[in-house]
Subunit: 308 residues, 2 copies
Amino acid sequence: MTPFCAAVDWGTSAFRLWLLAEDGRVLAERRSDEGMIRAGQTGFDVVLEKHLADLNAPDSLPVVVCGMAGAKQGWREAGYLDTPADLGALTEGALAVEGYRRDVRILPGIAQRDAVCPDVMRGEETQLLGLAADGVRSGLVCMPGTHSKWVLLQDGAVTGFSTYLTGELFALLSRHSILRLAVADSTEPAPGDPAFLAAVKAARDNPQAVSNLLFSLRSSQLLGFSPSAEGAARLSGTLIGLELAGAFARHGPANKVVLAGSGTLGALYRSALEAGGIAVDDQPADEAVLRGLWSAARSFWAAGTGES
Amino acid sequence: MTPFCAAVDWGTSAFRLWLLAEDGRVLAERRSDEGMIRAGQTGFDVVLEKHLADLNAPDSLPVVVCGMAGAKQGWREAGYLDTPADLGALTEGALAVEGYRRDVRILPGIAQRDAVCPDVMRGEETQLLGLAADGVRSGLVCMPGTHSKWVLLQDGAVTGFSTYLTGELFALLSRHSILRLAVADSTEPAPGDPAFLAAVKAARDNPQAVSNLLFSLRSSQLLGFSPSAEGAARLSGTLIGLELAGAFARHGPANKVVLAGSGTLGALYRSALEAGGIAVDDQPADEAVLRGLWSAARSFWAAGTGES
């Protein structure tokens, strides 16, 4: 089947490309570690064309791109929509790569130009576009990850959001800090694990104590209060609990959260939220970004709807 | 002049040795990076004897040691006194290195065996002993560093304390996280700098937001709200503000803090505390540890007071 377009989620360290049919079905897929960092050295066009050629994509196939390829250090700077940002405006704000051999559109990010709470996203807005296309147009959305995002969505517009360093802190602390000694002999954090949930609660209830709670992961093992197997679960719970405390203080209390997560991390967030009495609407993150790219592609190129 | 004893502050990564006269005067000093990590490979006795020989110390000179040499991974495990811990009991709890060629005493650490707030110190108790010898026997003591300690001292006894990962978080985030981009072009944090003090206040007032405040160091520069020169001051202020919020919540509000700091870091803490309306009693940290070691040495070996 002839593809309708190619869709690319071009992150900092990951590259994913799909060939899509006009109805959104995935015809072929490629994944690699040629994210912005590596592609910045190899050349973004070289990376893109190599993967398209490997899939025998037609020379005229158009491509829609989201993520860090649109950052200042990316392929072309695609700018930002400012909050409050109607997700429907993402396609109008897209950057066409001028003079390129095929039609490539890079979706913009979203910026919150607020001196007190400045924030930016690139890539997550396309997941949100996908959620909106599936009818999730309002609510508090949690997008766990290296830099977790919490987004207030109102009638298809991003009215406010905040980013938390949670995943990056977990990686740094468990590999490079004194806490590596506290997690070295531990099992992977598992959703619902009492040690994980206790750490979530401790940090949510006492976020001011987090820097001390982190050190106590080590002291509690030294003094025999906590088995070394629980180290990673407690570290993860402490950082996720701090994130929840921050997000709910910022975006207001909620009794329901849309969780755009995946895999174990998504399940950890789900158990942390549910243990706090919050209902979770699961929306797989991978499908959301694909759906968002397809939604944008249709507005660019579907018969009767697009510009070309 | 014949020395009375040698005194060693043996940290994780730093080694310091002084030859002391009986009245506490420093006759000679050595510093190196042969802390517990390197000495654990070379041999603690080899490191100690090399420095003593370089200073022509007599074969019979006794040595008092504090710090990580007394940890489980150190030279000999010197154990812990439990809170509430009378600082006067540190000398009784010292470990004599058995069968060694000279009289070596390693001071114990202090442990807080509390399932909710477990904590340990090794080295700081000797600084506290030095403060007590100088008449500072009660108060809330702040000891800034890689792992900052806050100690409640009551009539010469440690009744409670807490440790904060502040210095280690600063080092990790400024070198290895996305925030390295936010601090790369910045100047060193300076005491009293408005950007530093604003970050201290933001984190003290909203500790639950810290994981977001950290990410916003980067976003605020991307969006032009904050000059790149301020990156390190804001990172430092955010982490110190979180520490202050945690320490005052834990040990109760205080209108005066004994600050056992040194150099720029001590001055940063002083300005952060004073900006929050807290009076600061400066007590140089280096002198405190030396005074504590000397105080212990006198109780071991001074004519008429010691065991030998």
